[in-house]
Symmetry: C2
């Protein structure tokens, strides 16, 4: 089923990285985008509470704050730095009025992935009481295995579901991003499992280009790659998710272009391919 309209379209501020946050707010509204996910660097030098107010005044819904995580570290001191930073992110989210923080969980190159996963679990557990007290949910985002060296030791829905089951809190769930997960043969069944537990907290879309010339910043606009977007959205919705569809595109190519034109293309591609 094609999307009937753009009412559930959300855009990440990183998608239009060249735009200052205030310009992005205006640009998103002008084009009829209803949701915004705010990246922490877009908040720099701004008061989160006033920024949140401004976003809501403009008629945009704040979907989440990106991003917390990066819990693993070579020693306890490094891991405490990460915990402290995540506590600050929870404060920022609460002030901003964001109901969710996206967690890129982290990994230390050369450290066994099982150790990193243990440290991720410990780190989330350490900040969870503060998140619950603030009413801010934490969304574990499984990252593509090509980021297992340094960005996340959680690389599949199954691993994210397992960690959520261990932590067993209504404040811990999963952020589903097609870019990271599209290739996984267990995706549909693990989405069902996640949905049954009420743990699909967010849904991110973009596309995987062939060829991909940069491992970080060459994501494609929806429809420009090989990801079965409509199929994965149907699985996510069948699992009970009814939130925003968030466009998160890191792209040196698109960042160098006119952002208003890019936003127009995003809306068209959203209606056609998501």
């Amino acid at each position: 089923m094609p999307l009937p309209d753009s009412s559930k379209l959300c855009v990440h501020t990183i998608t239009t990285k060249p735009l200052p946050l205030e310009t992005a707010i205006d640009a998103y509204r002008q084009i009829g985008i209803n949701g915004i996910t705010v990246w922490r660097q877009a908040l720099e030098g701004r008061d989160p509470a006033r920024t949140g107010h401004r976003i809501r005044e403009a008629g945009l819904e704040i979907v989440s704050l990106c991003r917390g995580g990066f819990f693993p570290g070579p020693d306890q001191a490094a891991r405490q730095v990460a915990i402290d930073d995540n506590l600050r992110a929870i404060d920022e989210a609460a002030e901003l009025g964001a109901p969710l923080i996206v967690l890129v969980c982290g990994a230390v190159p050369g450290q066994p992935l099982v150790d990193s996963r243990q440290q991720i679990g410990d780190g989330i557990a350490a900040v969870l009481p503060h998140a619950a007290a603030c009413g801010v949910k934490l969304g574990i985002e499984p990252l593509h295995p090509m980021y297992a060296d340094s960005r996340s030791a959680i690389n599949t829905m199954q691993q994210a579901n397992d960690m959520c089951a261990d932590l067993d809190s209504p404040y811990v769930g999963v952020v589903v991003d097609v870019y990271h997960l599209w290739w996984d043969p267990a995706l549909e069944t693990e989405l069902q499992r996640c949905g049954q537990a009420g743990r699909i907290f967010a849904f991110h879309v973009c596309d995987w280009k062939t060829p991909t010339i940069d491992m970080l910043n060459d994501r494609g606009l929806m429809g420009k790659g090989c990801i079965p977007l409509a199929q994965i959205r149907s699985w996510v919705e069948a699992a009970g998710f009814d939130g925003f569809n968030e466009v998160e595109i890191f792209s040196d190519h698109h960042w160098a272009r006119d952002q208003q034109t890019f936003l127009t293309e995003i809306k068209e591609a959203y209606l056609k391919y998501v």
Copy 2:
């Protein structure tokens, strides 16, 4: 347990791509390398039977021929082209005296991965009688999920094991490459499963660098990255594998260097880190 010596060290001709095959043979022998895996492009313009004779005369064992596969295609004609090419590869392997062909199974961008896997299974089944008649084994190499768009729809040991179980032939097994598989939490158990079925046909090593600046040609020398090489080798050996440890490094950086120096470093890194 560290490797006691370099008796099971094999090098892929692509690792020393700048060297013509004849130079590579001499260089490998000079440094005390016992095994060679021959890439088809290194055979170009040469008679496979005479080349095989020359390699054995030099005292090197031919471990495998790289590579067949790429079975999926948008239509039957394209898939038949792939089958015909794999039949030729089997002939080449038989003439060369290579007991194994490594299969990079293929994928068509935008085609559902389940369809590509069906076409891979059909393609292998189509060439299997000829492989068996020639005494040449076929090794399915699961590729990293970052290659799922265009190079292989088989991205985990589990998928390779499942396909081997379906095809159920002593001539079809798995090529284990640490670069593609190191991140997978199911790796150890799926290696055990593969070994119990007698299907670990080959073992490839290199390392995953942080950062990796090119998705294809920035593999690291063993010890220069995050892959737990000794641990994975211990799993492969515990599963019953006792063949060569094959060094397969695609690297623009190393290809630009003196290849004799590089081979010396390979041997040192092999004894220290594999």
